[in-house]
């Protein structure tokens, strides 16, 4: 490993990647294709799309990646940003719980490359 590669701190990588994720979910997603996805299209073509039933959470405030309480495009942006943050918090919390469990962080792997 060259010395130059180590100058970027882990914190900088994490913050940078988080900003990219927020940008993708909050801005770029507004320009994403709105055509049906692969499975939806196949289910329409093959005639089993109508077996879909009402989603139990269809009336939620963020249903369909659209924050219903915000007007226009901004609703999609708010939903995307909120989703990234919720997933980040839950993922980080789950990771922390896993690490705190007995046997976590055994020296076995910390001596790795």
């Amino acid at each position: 490993m060259s010395a130059g590669r180590r100058t970027v701190s882990t914190r900088a990588v994490v913050v940078g990647a988080l900003l990219v994720s927020l940008l993708l979910a909050g801005v770029v997603s507004l320009y994403a294709a709105s055509t049906p996805d692969g499975l939806t299209k196949v289910s329409q073509d093959q005639g089993f799309a109508e077996t879909e039933t009402e989603h139990g959470a269809a009336d939620g405030p963020f249903a369909g990646y659209d924050a219903g309480f915000v007007d226009g495009d901004l609703g999609g942006a708010v939903a995307g940003v909120a989703g990234v943050l919720v997933v980040l918090v839950l993922g980080t919390a789950l990771t922390a719980v896993v690490r705190r469990r007995p046997g976590a962080g055994e020296p076995l792997d910390q001596t790795g490359p």
């Binding site: 299209k41 990234v84 690490r99």
Partner: protein
Amino acid sequence: MHVPDGFFDAPTSIATGVVAVVAIGVSLRGARRELDDRTAPMAGLVAAFVFAAQMLNFPVGAGTSGHLMGGAVAAVLVGPWTAVLATSVVFVVQTLMFADGGITAIGTNITVMGLATVVVGYGVFRGLQAVLPKRLALVPVLAGIGAFASVPVASLLFVALYAVGGAAPVPLDTLTTAMVGVHSLIGIGEGLITFLAVAGIIAVRPDLVRGARPVLAERTLEIRTETTGATA
């Protein structure tokens, strides 16, 4: 490829639910060994990235789109056990908060889009890594190839499940052709996004990419034996 409520009968949905619960339980144990001081800060972030990237539907042919599934990119970045947990978090949030993917189909979606793409994506990645030269520049390429392969295989798993417990009688040969066809195209996007994400982290901190560790270990050895520095 989020499966909505109603596509599968109850026994199939329950069976995939059991598969998902068992897989998550096993992964909770497996992830303990993966989550060291370098992987742990990345795990929640990888889940957040997969969520964000899944919002980006890209066009594949007329009137159809696709988006990242994410098992391969997550597994290469933080390890396969942690990847199962990270993608599962994404699918649970998507169904409960965004009504994307049926609530009764959560087990199916975790199994097909999460588990399958982790197993296939990471399996292909490690398989290629074992037989090809240990070069850092190859890591994002092999990750991309694994990601590309994982999507049509996931679509095949969907077809297999549909054959067992699909809600409508659909000819399996045409369903297979249609699903694998469109998801091979979507796989190209999966491969590209995976390549870019892995290459991006490797460019700044290769040691934070778990799938690059065998290569970094090899490289350290090479530098010790070749004092010319030509390997850098």
